[in-house]
């Protein structure tokens, strides 16, 4: 394996490792950002009001059972005529990744808010916080540990699944796996798998570190 990684050919050109990692991270980050924009507010709303709990749980379960590969193929066929250029592939790819990331973010945000000690919320209301004040000053800060862990598991799933971008002729580390398979270059395939694994680990560590810095010592013992 080591010769494969030290071969300068693999670090240059349109298939350079650095470039593939960059693409992989961009797809993942974009999908996570969109999923946050969707899942986080919904989780906050449902957690705070306790309205729509059943819908959220049902939706999350349904989304979790979607087969990513089948979905992306279907979406490419659907969107092919609608978009020109790479967008015809990029949009389906992002949709699949977003659908994957929304459930953990949404349900963990909801669960985090719902698990806040009712006595704290009661005290906050009684001392004169507005409903939004209760959410921002008490519920959200107390829910942060669970929200972070939701983001963390969403990120891990998205990064490992982002390899499917290569199935629809986009970039990312999936290229190595798919091209390697096509050319029967097993070293390339294994290298792709190793890189995805390392990237997942690195991001996991980064998020763990960020949450450690961001969370109040009152919440993590």
């Amino acid at each position: 394996m080591i010769p494969w990684f030290t071969d300068p050919q693999h670090w240059n050109g349109s298939d350079a490792i650095g470039l593939l990692i960059g693409q992989h991270l961009i797809y993942s980050a974009a999908a996570l950002a969109i999923a946050l924009l969707i899942g986080f507010p919904i989780g906050l709303y449902v957690g705070h009001t306790r309205r729509g709990v059943v819908i959220v749980a049902g939706t999350a379960n349904a989304l979790r059972s979607l087969p990513s590969l089948g979905l992306i193929v279907m979406l490419v066929i659907l969107f092919g005529p609608v978009f020109k250029s790479d967008l015809a592939y990029l949009v389906p790819c992002l949709i699949v990744l977003v659908l994957l990331a929304v459930p953990p973010i949404m349900t963990n945000t909801y669960a985090g808010i719902a698990a806040v000690d009712p006595a704290s919320v009661d005290a906050a209301r009684g001392m004169g916080y507005s409903p939004l004040g209760v959410l921002l000053h008490v519920e959200l800060p107390c829910a942060l540990p669970l929200i972070f862990s939701g983001i963390r598991s969403a990120a891990l799933q998205v990064i490992s699944t982002a390899t499917i971008a290569a199935y629809v002729s986009l970039g990312g580390l999936g290229r190595l796996i798919i091209d390697g398979l096509a050319q029967r270059d097993y070293y390339e395939m294994v290298a792709g798998a190793i890189l995805v694994g390392l990237l997942t680990l690195a991001v996991d560590l980064a998020i763990a570190l960020a949450s450690r810095l961001a969370l109040s010592r009152g919440l993590v013992r």
Binding site: D117, A119, S120, V121, D122, A123, A124, R125, G126, M127, G128, Y129, S130, H137, V138, P141, C142, L144, S216, R217, G218, L219, R221
Partner: protein
Amino acid sequence: MIVFKNVTKRYDNGTIAVDDLSLEAPKGRITIFVGPSGCGKTTSLRMINRLIAPTSGSILLDGQPTEAMNLAQLRRKIGYVIQHAGLFPHLNVVQNIATTARLKGIAKKQALLIASELLERVGLDLSFGNRYPWQLSGGQQQRVGVARALASDPEFMLMDEPFSAVDPVVRHQLQEEFLRLQRDIGKTIIMVTHDIDEALKLGDQVAVLRTGGVLAQVASPKELLSNPADSFVADFVGRDRGYRYLSFVDAASSLAVMIEPVVALGTEAAAARIVAKDQWILVVNAAAQPLGWVDLDRQSGPLRESDLNLSGTLASQDHSLRQVLDAALSAPSGRGVIVDAGRVLAGSVRLSDVVAAIQSAKAAGWGGRP
């Protein structure tokens, strides 16, 4: 002043929690809601800051009906202490206390300063300031909860079983601190408890509620003990109300305090026998504060700390007859030890003298404290 005018609360499921409650909680005084579980105490309290909306009737704060007030402004005028403190787990103690001051619009620095001062006020060391709620005991959390309610210097305080989550010793301590604090700050307070002893001890006025949310009687503790309105109140106030009543009768006026001979630790038993009235001798420290009794019949050689019998309670001269009686009953010598405000020995009283004092106080129609 907080006024309830014909307030009724019927929950959606048809439960009538509070039934036509009319009551005044006077300014600067402690009013206690007491009654069996489920009689509507919490509901009554939470209707004041409109965490619960009354079904009918109205509640007035200094003459203003609460339903006409802005909700946030109403609540910021009222300090609210709940049973399990309800501290914010992500904030440290000082930040927790400062929240109500911040809500009132006080700048952060100033709010934290106020919070630190209040910390000492409720009997917590400054070093607790940067602890988090999970690092505190139940009693310490309660104190922080009280401090947090006080930080905005509200005109009114609502307290829902604030001392219930702690053991009897800590509760007693918190109650004493609370009374001392209230003497300084003089807030208009409504407190909920289901402990009649706590109600009688803390309340300037006690409202007894019965199941179904009906007010059974509202009166001063003394009145409640001597003149229960009906058999429910009489039962609730308890079997030993005759004895409890002594809590409200001053000892000072009617009691003859005798001189009690004392010795210091280290005195030889033989020397102590010379001054002692009988087999029991009282031992004091250098500041003349009582340490305990020694039984000279079982003593030889110098009196040591381990020889002390510590079973006697102390009563202060301005205390009630109940405490003096307790001191006399608990003293192994039969002579209750009386001290002054600085715990310095003032003398002793015999049980028979206490009983005589009780008799004459009763004959005089229970003078003493109002």
